[in-house]
Amino acid sequence: MEQLKTIGRELAMGSQGVWGSSKEFLELVKTIGEAKSKAEEERIVLAEIESLKRRIQEPDVPRKKMKEYIMRLVYVEMLGHDASFGYIHAVKMTHDDNLLLKRSGYLAVTLFLNEDHDLIILIINTIQKDLKSDNYLVCCAALTAVCRLINEETIPAVLPQIVELLNHQKELVRKKAVMALHRFFQRSPSTVSHLFPAFQERLCDRDPSVMSAVLCALYDMILVNVKPFKHLVASLVSILKQAVEHRLPKSYDYHRTPAPFVQIKLLKILALLGTGDKAASENMFNVLGDILKRSDSTSNIGNAILYECVRTLTSIYTNPRLLQNAAEITAKFLKSDNHNLKYMGIDALGRLIKITPECAENHQLAVIDCLEDPDDTLKRKTLDLLYKMTKANNVEVIVERMVEYIRNISDNHYKTEISSRVIELAERYAPSNQWFIQTMNQVFEIAGDLVPQKVAHDLMRLIAEGAGEEDEDADSHLRSSAVQAYLQILKEPKLPSILLQVISWVLGEYGIADGSHSAEFIIGKLCDIVATRPGDDKLKGYVVSAITKICAFEKAAGQTVDLIPECVSFIEELYASHSTDLQQRIYEFHAVLKLDRDTIASILPMDASCEDIEVDKDLSFLNSFVESALANGSRPYLSDNERRGMGAMTTLASNNDAGTSSLLRFQPYEKPSIPEPAAALVTASHYSQDAIDQHDIYSKSSSNDGTRLKLEGVQKKWGRPTYTPEAQVPKNPINISDSVKVSSSAAGKEASSRNSSAPPYTERKQPSQEISAEKKKLAASLFGSKAGETKAKPAAKLQQNGTSKKAPAKPTSPPAPAPAPPPADLLDLSDSLPQIPSVDPVDQLADLISVDSSAATSTTSLVEQVLDAGKVATKGPSPQASLQKDSVSRQVGVTPSGGTNPDLFKDLFG
C-alpha cells in the first residue's frame, strides 16, 4: 500500500515537473533513494560529482541550468561529500539580478560556507547592495545570509545598513534585522553594544514577531550582564501578561495555547532578571501564578510552559506559595507515564531540591523507577539528580550506582563526566579512607586514562598522609592494605597507565614497609609493570624512582640488594633512553647505590614523603665560602642590573673570550631564547632554558656579547662528548660567591619572591604553618577531600553539607582540593623535569662521592645540616649540599615545580 502511494506521488511529481528541476536530477534522487547499500550510494554520488565537475566548468552554462547544478551540489554535500569545487559558482549566483536565482545562490552559499571561509569576502559587496534593495524579499534573502556568513571582521561592513533596516516598513525585514544584530552580538558583543536602546525600542514593535525576535537577543544580552536591563522587568511582565491573556493575534496561538514560544522566552528572561532580586521577583509573582493556573497540562506545549515556569520559580527570589505549586507540577510530571514528562520532572526536581531539599523524599519511588528504567537518557538524568542529592549518608549507594553505570557505557564524553563526579563525591563525602581508595581504584580501572592526573596525585597523597591524625598504626594499616589491594589489582590484564603510576609509587614508597613482602618481590612486580607497557616513558620514570627507593631502603637497613636479571636489563636499557628524564633518573639511581649506608638513609629516609624539606632560600650556608673568596681578593657580586648599568664593564672577561667574541656579533638577537636545535635534542626544555640563561650570564659578564656565547653554551651543554660542566663552574668560582653574597643580602627580597613563586630547589612542602592554614581552608571550602579530615572535623563537615544543600549542583570549586598545595606537584613527573643547576648532576654526585678526605667525613653532617629545618648551615661547599637536598626531594618522587624560574641562576652564577 505504501509503495503504491509512493508511486502515485512520483507520478504526480513527474507530471508537475517539480519546480523546474530536470528529469536528470529527479532520476539521481531516485536512484540514490533506491540504492541498496551504502557503497552503491557512494558510487552514484561520486559519479554525479564527476559529471558536475565537468559540466559546471563548461563555458556559458545557462543560468537556469547552473541553478540546478548548484542544487545538485547542495544535495551531494548533504550526503556528506565534498562539493567545494562548486562553491565559487554558488557565490557567483548570488550576484544574479533574478531574485529566484539570487535566493538559490544565497541558500547554497549559506549551506556551503562557514563564516570564516575565504569566499565570504566576495559576497560582502553583493550583500551590501541587496540590503539596500527596494524589494523586501531581496532584503530578506540578504539578511538570512548575513546571519550565517558575516564574521567579526566583516560586521562593520554591513552594520549601518542593518541598523537602518530596523525601521523598515515590512515587519519581516525588521524581524530579520533584529536577528542579524543578535547574531552579531553573539559574534562580538562590542560591535552592537551601542544598539541596546534600539533593541528596546523594537521590543515595543507593533508586530509580535519582531518583539519575539528581540526577546532572543535580549536573553543573550542579559545572560552576559543583567544590570542594564533591570528596568525592563515591568514591561516584560506586562508583555507576558498580554500573551497569557490571549491578547496577541490569534495566529500566534499554538494548539490553543496563546503564543507559547513567546511565553517561554519571556520566562527565561525573567528567570535571569529575578535571580537574587527580591523587588523584581515580586513583580513577577502575579503573572507566574496566572500561568500556573491557566496552562493546560494535557498538551505538550502546556507542559513546556509549566516546566519553564518551574525553572523560573526556582531561580528567582522564592515565594513559598508558588514553590508549593511548582512542587505539585513536578510531582505530576514524575507520576506521568510519558517518558518525556518524567525526564522533565527529574530535571525540575533537581532544581527544586536546591531550594527545598526535603521535597526529594516524597518522590523516592518515582526516582528509583527512573533509575531502573531501560531508557538510557532517563537513567543518566536521574544520576544527575542523585549527584545533586548526595550527602554523607547516601554517598556509598549513589557512588556505587554511578560506578556501575560507567562500567556499562562506552561513550567517552559521559564516562569522563560521570567519573569526575564520582571522584568529586568520593572526595567530598568518603566515609572511610579504605572506601575512598577502593572507589578510586575502581574509577581508575574503568575510566583509566580519562581521569585527570591530579586525581592520581590526590590519591597518592591520601595514602601517604593517612588519616591526618596522629594515629600511625591506622596509617600504616591503611598503607599495607593499599599495597595488598594493588598487588591484587596487578594480576589483572590491561590496566590504564595512570593507575599503574599510582601503583608504582605506592609500591616504591610502602611496598616493603610492613615487612610482609621482600624487596626482590616488589622489584619484580615493578619490572612486570613496565613489561606490560613498553612505550610509556612516564610510567618508566615512576618505576625507576620506585626501584631506587626500595633499593635505598634496603641498603639503609643494612641489607644488600641483588637486582634480579629483568630489572638489570630494564635499567641497562634506560641508559640509552631517548628521554633525558629517564636517563637522569637511572644515573641518579646508580649514584645513590654507590653511597654509603648513612648517606642513603638521610637522602632517602623511610616513609618520609610527607616530611617537609626546608630550603634555605638565601643560600646562607654559602656565606663562609663567600667571605673566604672575598678575603682572597675576589670581586663582590653585582646584580644583573648594576652590571648593565656599568656598560662597558668587561674586566671579568677572559682574554680569549673577548677575542673570539669580536668575530661574531649578531646584533638582532638581543633576548636570549631557546635555540631550536637544542630544544629538539632534548625533551627537557626547562632544563635547557636554565642552561642558556646561565651561559647567557657568563657571556654578559665576560664580553657583553650574549648571543655568541649563548649559542656556544648550548652546544657544549648538550653535545655529549664535549660536555664539560666542570670547566664552566670552576671558571668563575668567585662569581658564584659574589652572587651569593649579594643575593643573600641586597637582593634578598627579590630572590625570596622569586623563590616563593617557583622554587627551583623544590621544597617538598611549604613550611608547616602554611600547610595547616591550607588544611583549614580545605576543610572550610566545600572539600573535605579526605575522609580523614572530614572525620577529624565533624563540624566542618556539617557546614559543608549545609552549604552543599544550598548549591549542590554547582560546586563552587573543582572536585579536588582547590588550594593545590605543593605536595600536588610532589609526584608530578608529568612535564617538568627536575630542575637542578645546569651542571651535570651525575658528575656532581660523583664529585660528592669523591670529595677529598675532609669532605668525606663531613658529608653526612653536611646533609644533616641541610635537612635540619630552620638551622642555617654555614659550612661546606654549597653546590654539593644543595644538590644533595635536591636529590632527596627528587628521589622520593618529587619534581620541583619551578620550571618557570631560570632567573635564579643568573644571580647565582653571575
Binding site: W19, D82, P260, H339
Partner: protein, 161 residues
C-alpha cells in the same frame, strides 16, 4: 540556541541538514553517524531526548522520518519538541499532507521554509500564517519569473519563426 537541524530517514539516510554552529564536514558526518546510531534504535515509548556530547538532541519521528534538533543543555526540551512540530505543521500546510518524498524532491523548498522559521539557531517566527505568507510571496515571484521567461521564449520563438 539550536546547533543544527537534521532530518534522517528510518534507514539512516540524510534528508536535510542545517548547521547553525560551525562544524567541519568531518564533524558533520561524525555527528550524523553518531546520532543515527543513537536515535534510530530507540523504542517508541522512550523519551524524545538524547544527551550527546554535553548537548541535547530532541527528536521526533513522523512516519518514516526523524526530525532532530540539537539544542544547548540548558534549553527547554519540550519547547524544542514543539519547534519541530511547528516546522512540520508549516511543511504540511505548504505541501498539503507532506510526506518524505516531498522533502526528498523539494529539499530546497524545505530549506526555504526552515529559513523562515529558524534564523541563526533561534525560532524567529512562531506564527504559521506569516511563514506561509512569506513563502507564498516568494513563490508568486517565482511563478511570475517563470511566466516572464516562458513568454520571453515564446516571443523569441515567434520572432525566429
Amino acid at each position: 540556541m539550536i546547533r543544527f537541524v537534521l532530518l534522517i530517514s528510518r534507514q539512516g539516510k540524510v534528508r536535510l541538514t542545517k548547521w547553525y554552529s560551525p562544524y567541519t564536514q568531518k564533524e558533520r558526518l561524525k555527528a550524523i553517524r553518531e546520532l543515527s546510531a543513537l536515535i534510530l534504535p530507540r523504542g517508541p515509548k522512550l523519551c524524545n531526548f538524547v544527551e550527546w556530547k554535553g548537548l541535547k538532541v530532541v527528536y521526533k519521528r513522523y512516519a518514516s522520518l526523524y526530525f532532530c534538533i540539537c539544542v544547548d543543555s540548558e534549553d527547554n526540551e519540550l519547547d524544542g519538541l514543539e519547534v519541530i512540530h511547528h516546522y512540520v505543521q508549516v511543511l504540511d500546510r505548504y505541501f498539503g499532507n507532506v510526506c518524505e518524498l516531498d522533502l526528498i524532491f523539494n529539499f530546497h523548498k524545505a530549506y526555504f521554509i526552515l529559513d523562515e522559521i529558524l534564523i541563526a539557531g533561534e525560532l524567529q517566527e512562531s506564527s504559521k500564517k506569516s511563514v506561509s505568507r512569506v513563502i507564498s510571496a516568494q513563490d508568486t515571484l517565482v511563478e511570475n519569473a517563470k511566466e516572464q521567461a516562458s513568454s520571453l521564449s515564446n516571443m523569441i520563438a515567434q520572432a525566429t519563426k
